[in-house]
Every structure is written in C-alpha cells, then in structure tokens.
Symmetry: C2
Subunit: 470 residues, 2 copies
C-alpha cells in the first residue's frame, strides 16, 4: 500500500484570498501556470470562495474568463474550486436552479473537483450542490468544518462525514479555517474517519498560530491522503502552510510527496517577485493569532471586532467581548465561527457588552439565524434566548432553500442586453448589483473600442503562454 | 513516569541575537523579568553567545552588570548561558585559565546552567569548560551540533554524546542552529540518545524553513525532556519556535508543559511593544531559508555569500557557489556549517568559483583549519587539498588550546587602572580592543559624573523592579 501524500496547491485561490485580500490578477497567474502544472500537485484550487465576487467587483475581470484561461493552460493538474454549498460563491442562500446551473457551467469550463462546505455543517445545505456536481461528472468533495465545542465530538464528525459519504461524496475535507485543529486532535479525527469511511480524506488548515504543519504531520500519520499547501511567499499567517516545508518533512519517508524542491523554489521565486511588485505583506503570526488557542476566536474575527469597537470608541471593552463570545456561541447552539456565523455571534456579543444588558438589542441577522434561515445549528438554541429574539414567530425546520423560488428564468430580461454567454446570467443572479455593473461596463468598453479589444487581449495571452513554456 | 515537557525560554538571548542583531538592552528586560520568572520555565537562556561582545561593543553595557541584575530579579527560574567551549563568548580559542576564570565568575554571578558547544563537535575543545562548570557546582549541559553529512550518522552522534556523558555532562543538547533537523530524523536521534544515555535530552532548533515545531513534536514523542522556545514576537524566522504554539500543541496530552497561555500572552504583549518601539522586524521565512532543504546551506550563510559576491560584482555566480559549497565541505572533512566553519567553507567556495581554478588561493583561516588549529574535523581532510594548502607544514593533532599559554596574570598591568572588579579582567582578556575601550569610557564617565551616576542607575533599577511586580 502506497502512503504517498498528495498535495493540493491553494496559491491561486485561498492563499491570496487569505493574505492579499483576493487581489491576485489573472495576469499574475498566467506566466507561472505552466510551471505549476508541471509540479505534480494532486490538484490546484484556483477558483471559487471570494475570487468570483472580487474579480468583478474590484479587478474588473470576468471570473469565467479566468477559469477558461486557467483551464486552457493547466493541462495535467485537476482544477479545484471552493463552493459555499447553497451560498455558491456568495454570502446568502440561492435557489436550487442557480446552484445547479452554476455547477454545470463551472464543470463545463474546467473545474474537476468541487469542495463543498456549509458553515453550520448542515448537510441539507450541501445536498443540491452535491447532486449537481455528481451530475456534472466532476469529483464531489464534501467538507466538515472543524471547530471546538462540547457538541463537536469525534463521533459527531464521523456521523456527519458518513452522511456525506452516503449522499455521494467522493472524498471528505476537514476544513480548519481558523487554525484550531491541534496535531493530536487531528490524529484522532483522521483515524476515526479512516476507520468509518471508504473515501479519501483531505485536510485543509490555515497556519494562523502555527499549528498547521504539525497538524498535517499527525493527520498524515493517521492516514490523511491529501493536504493543502501554498507556495512559501503566499504561505504562513492566515494562509496555508508552505509546500516546501511539508515536502522537506515528508521526503525520504513512506509519506514522500514526490514533489521536487528545486521546481517548487522556481515557482516561489516567481510569486515572491509578484508579492514585492504588488507590495503585499508576508503571512505572519501575531499575538492575536496566538490568542485563538485560549478562546477559539479566529484572528480575522478579532480584527473585525476591534474595528467595530473602535467605531464606538470602546476598544477598551475588547476583553469583555472576547469573554462574551463563548457565552453567545453556546446560547446560539455552538455554530463554528466562520462567515457568516462569526459575524452573527460577534455582533451580538458586541451589543451585549456595549449596551450593558444582554440581548437588549438583537440584530435582524441574529433573528434570521435563530428562525432557522441559515440551517440547523449544531446544538439546540437556548429557549430563553429564542423566546426573547423571535417570540411566537415561526421557526423553520425545513432546508432553507426549499423556501426559495427558482430565479434564472425571471432575470433573463433584466440583463439580456449585456449578456455575451450563458454564464453571464449566473454572474448577475449571484451578484445583481456588482454583476450588472460589471456586465454594463464591459459592454461600454466594447462599444467604444470595438471587437479589436478582445483580439488584443487574446494576443497578449498567447505571449504570456510562450513565456510559461521557457 | 511523568513525561511533562519542560521549556527553556531563549527570548533574552538567542531570540534577540537571531532577530534583533542582539540589540535587546537590559532596560528592555527588567520590566518583564518578574513575569518571565513566574511563567514556570525550566530555565531562561539570558547570557552568553554574542550578547557579551555586543553589550560592550554596541550597547555600552557591562555584561556582568546585566547578569547581576537578571540574577537579582529572576529568583525562581534557573539562568542559562551559551558557552562556546574554548571560544568562551568570543570567536577564537582562549587559554584554559581564561575559560576557567570566566566560568567561575559566571557561576558566581548567577548562571545555573552552562550550555557548552564546539563547532566541530570536538570533545577536546569542550573538556576544560566542562570541568570548570562541574567545579563551579553548576549544571553542565554538553552539546552536539546537528548537521547533515555521510559521517554524521546516528551512531556518530550517539558516540559523541556518550563521550560527553562520560566526561561528566549533566545533560545533552541537540543544537540545530541551521534548522536542518527534520521531524523523523529527530525522532530517530532522540530515540537513540534516550536508549544510550542516562541524562536528560534537550532540543534546540531554529525555525528558519519551518521544520522546528514539528521537529519538537517528534523529538518529544521520542522522549526529549526539554525544548527551547521564544515568546511569539521574538520567535519564527531565524529564531526559535514560539512557546505559545508548542504549549497549545502539548496541552491536554501526556506531554503538557503546564505553562499558562494567558500568562504567556501577557509576556508577549510586552515584547511586541518593545519590538514596535525599537522598530525590529518579525521573524519570517523567506525563499532563501527554504533552499536550506536542498543544499543544507544555512540562510544566514547565504546572506553573507550574497554580500561577498555583490562586492565582487559577481552575484550571478551565487548558484555556482552554492554548488561548490558541498564539494569544499566534503574536502574539508564535513564540518557543520556554523561560525567559524561556515566562513571557512564559504570563503573557500567563493574563491574557487570566482578565480576559475579550485584552491588557486587558500585563505589563512582555511590553512589554520587544515592544520588542526580549530580542532579535529569530523572526517579526514582530502589529502590532495591538504598537500596543496599546507604542503609539509606540521599538522597539529593535540587539543589546540594545549598550545596556548595562560594569559590572565600577564594582562593585569595593562588594564589595572580601569578595573572595578575581577570580572573586568576577563572582559579585557576576551576582547582586548573592545573591552579596553569599554572600560576606559566607563571610567571617563565616572570621572566626570562622579559616583552619583551609579546611584542614579541603581535607583532606576529599583523603580523598574517595582513595575515588574505589579
Ligand atoms: Co481555507
Ligand atoms: Co541557537
């Protein structure tokens, strides 16, 4: 039995989303994708997550066009994306027809592996996405989001993962977005998964406080099949661990990744130049990242809380807020602290502290969460808090998306004038304002510069491609 | 059997030597030493290495005075120093009387644990230091310097460590100054040491390319008793791994350090302020650090080579030099690449590449090394190179310091006028120029400001001490 460990490279998606605010451009990617393709990765995560939104909103790039180009020049390595289940690549639940059409088109344009996750680990929220991926013929990787709480036991995770396997998942990802997964816990968890499941196990950790490399090591000893890394200059800090270190640790052991260090160094030298040219900082570990070890509040969430408190001239209350968060989290049924639940818990905790009376004010998003519109919380919500928040209002117990009407047929008229391809309708359906603005501006530009403009772009791309091959 | 792992904190010595060019001042230390003392560390490395030299040369501080103050305010935690064996705290071999007097006075002023190392692992170079420490009643920790070569096998290390145990060492330190020790190799090495030796094993790694945390984890699984860490804001990069992460990893396992995270965070918040106030950078891992994995050349050595080549307008030859280094190292008997052998190998490699003919020029220090004046190389020196370098000149096979006459009696007259305490003679013996300049300037200052000046300093110290206790 080969125990060679496989590597998913996240440099083109999660790494720059974590460290560079998702600002890597397609033109930054193209000169190096040939080298990346030759590295021998199991897969490359290149799309999804925040990249779709940021492409249109800030980079004035068509996310579909990026995917087509990557798929054109990455010929050997499977392309992977992060799919937020019913949230697709946005921040709310979309109707099933949008989820299905998105997956169909993403697969058609080159995505080979879809990593599907839901913030609450509510498998109902992953159902449509999973089905759609299976229908597309692509690999459906289902995710369990790792967190620490009395209900998030090993048994709980095995149960969730088994359900996902039975729903058709081709592999399971343990997603440790907050860098909370400790090495010996990872060992236990992966051991339990390997015993209970027949499909491969992948581990996705963020470096944050410095656990991740050791966590991978113990996960690998327990049988993890694939781990996620990034190139050194986009690793560490809030990003993934560096591929070079993981490769060095495993070289000449039964787990050897078979990646070549010199090849990886060439890749990193390129990205180090991009980093410097663009003025982005390296990933580092700060004291706030370390504090995660004691209160389990992710570093990114602390930064948000600090901003919120500064706006209220109340930064001195940060320690009270950090103490309040575990209480609120417990009362709300121990949601993992990841978008959007981190905002839900964080905002409520800030209100509770600043107003001097707990739950005196309850924001709408907290009420929606309590009413079940985000899915089923991991544990029961405190009945007293529920009563206070929503009184006699109806709590939904169905899959939230069951309440959403199909939307694709209805929006056709609204954007028909700006659409060039079927995918454009999906961009608009997901982000009506940002998508429409993007499509309009694209059309304006074409109207001014004519079709030539596209011709010029194509030529540049070919040039870039030649550079890659040298 | 308790397997609780003990922690040596290097923040006040190795960490700032590695990241802040040894520029932490005593005044930066005093406000926090009370908290450090309460942390529950096995020991605190606070003295030795480059700190002695830098105190006098750049900070205009008396290193002995620093030690006395630290010893005054650190009451529970054993104080540790790095002793460069026959090089004491300098860069060349000193006569035995200097080594003995230095150790006697260091112990008298508060050092409880002496970590003794020699760059070549030549136990003869450690003999006098070991004896002196034993005589002083302090703990003598002997060191094996870790490196990678065909002769540095596990057996070789076990043999060296056994010899050191038989010479009276109270514990053994595995010193991985270049961040080369991989986790599974550490596991093998510590396992072999625990089987062969009866004394405790301590592991000292530098983070560099990111191995160290995982290396500690596997070393600990193999039975390592103590590991070296630094506070987060002085960890990572060329420094030690962070204590917070190691503590988090081991908490709730059989290896639990029993350190309290909140207490460690308080300490780190203090040092993070010092770091910001003084404008020092965090420890980070760069591509040059990663390259260590393929050619074993330490990152710091690469930086030196780059400067050397830049001065010769030949930076384009760096890759040739990196390829030349392993050859030169082999020909010179596989010395570990650490001061001063890293300069010896590096300089010769640069000459070999730039002059277009290997060993066309051989610098004096390389000749000295070949003649045995640094000690016995780990393997035989290539006879052809030896012939070319020193021809028929005599090779010494004795302990180099056997050829050095005692010096303390002879220097008394030279500095008597400036000396306040016996320790000042040692400072001068170790660093004649720097030491004399320091002693002279101190006297000048006192002559101008009178004895009051000392009174003022004392008062400030007392004030600092009160702050600590809050
Ligand atoms: Co991630
Ligand atoms: Co060191």
């Amino acid at each position: 039995m080969s125990t060679q460990v496989k590597i998913t490279d996240t440099t083109l998606r999660d790494a720059h989303q974590s460290l560079w605010a998702t600002r890597m451009r397609t033109e930054d990617m193209l000169p190096i994708v040939g080298k990346l393709d030759e590295a021998g990765y199991h897969s490359m995560e290149v799309w999804g997550g925040a990249t779709f939104d940021v492409c249109m909103r800030y980079l004035k790039e068509d996310p579909w066009e990026r995917l087509r180009l990557l798929n054109k020049y990455i010929r050997k390595t499977p392309l992977q994306m992060l799919l937020r289940a019913q949230n697709v690549v946005g921040y709310k639940h979309y109707p099933d027809d949008v989820v299905r059409k998105f997956v169909e088109k993403a697969a058609e344009n080159g995505i080979d592996i879809f990593r599907i996750f839901d913030a609450l680990n509510d498998v109902r929220n992953m159902k449509t996405a999973l089905e759609a991926v299976k229908e597309s013929g692509a690999h459906a990787q289902a995710t369990v989001v790792y967190t620490v709480s009395p209900v998030h036991t090993i048994d709980h995770y095995v149960e969730t993962a088994t359900t996902l396997e039975n729903m058709g998942a081709d592999s399971i990802c343990i997603k440790d977005m907050a860098g909370l997964l400790k090495p010996y816990r990872a060992y236990e968890l992966v051991t339990a998964f390997k015993e209970a499941l027949d499909i491969p196990i992948q581990v996705h950790s963020h470096y944050i406080g410095g656990l991740a490399i050791s966590t991978y090591l113990k996960a690998i000893e327990a049988g993890a099949d694939v781990v996620d890394t990034a190139t050194a200059s986009l690793a560490f800090g809030s990003s993934q661990p560096p591929v070079e270190t993981v490769t060095a640790i495993l070289s000449d052991t039964e787990y050897d990744t078979k990646l070549e260090l010199e090849h990886l160094f060439d890749i990193d030298r390129y990205f180090e130049q991009v980093r410097r040219n663009r003025g982005f900082e390296r990933g580092v570990t700060r004291i706030t990242d370390m504090q995660t070890f004691s209160h389990q509040v992710p570093g990114g969430m602390i930064s948000n809380l600090v901003s919120q408190l500064e706006q209220q001239d109340s930064l001195d209350r940060i320690h009270d807020v950090l103490k309040e968060i575990p209480k609120v989290r417990k009362e709300l049924g121990y949601p993992p602290l990841v978008t959007p639940t981190s905002q839900i818990v964080g905002t409520q905790a800030v209100f509770n502290v600043l107003l001097g009376e707990r739950y005196k004010v309850i924001p709408d998003e907290v009420k929606s969460y309590i009413k079940g519109y985000y899915g089923k919380p991991p544990a029961e919500i405190d009945p007293k808090i529920r009563e206070k928040a929503v009184g006699d209002e109806k709590i939904i117990t169905c899959r939230p998306a069951d309440l959403l009407d199909p939307m694709l047929d209805d929006i056709k008229d609204e954007v028909e004038h700006y659409v060039e391809k079927e995918e454009d309708y999906i961009s608009y359906a997901l982000f009506p304002q940002v998508g429409l603005k993007f499509l309009k501006e694209r059309k304006q530009e074409k109207d001014i510069f004519g079709e030539n403009e596209e011709g010029v772009v194509k030529e540049e791309e070919e040039m870039n491609f030649k550079e890659i091959k040298e």
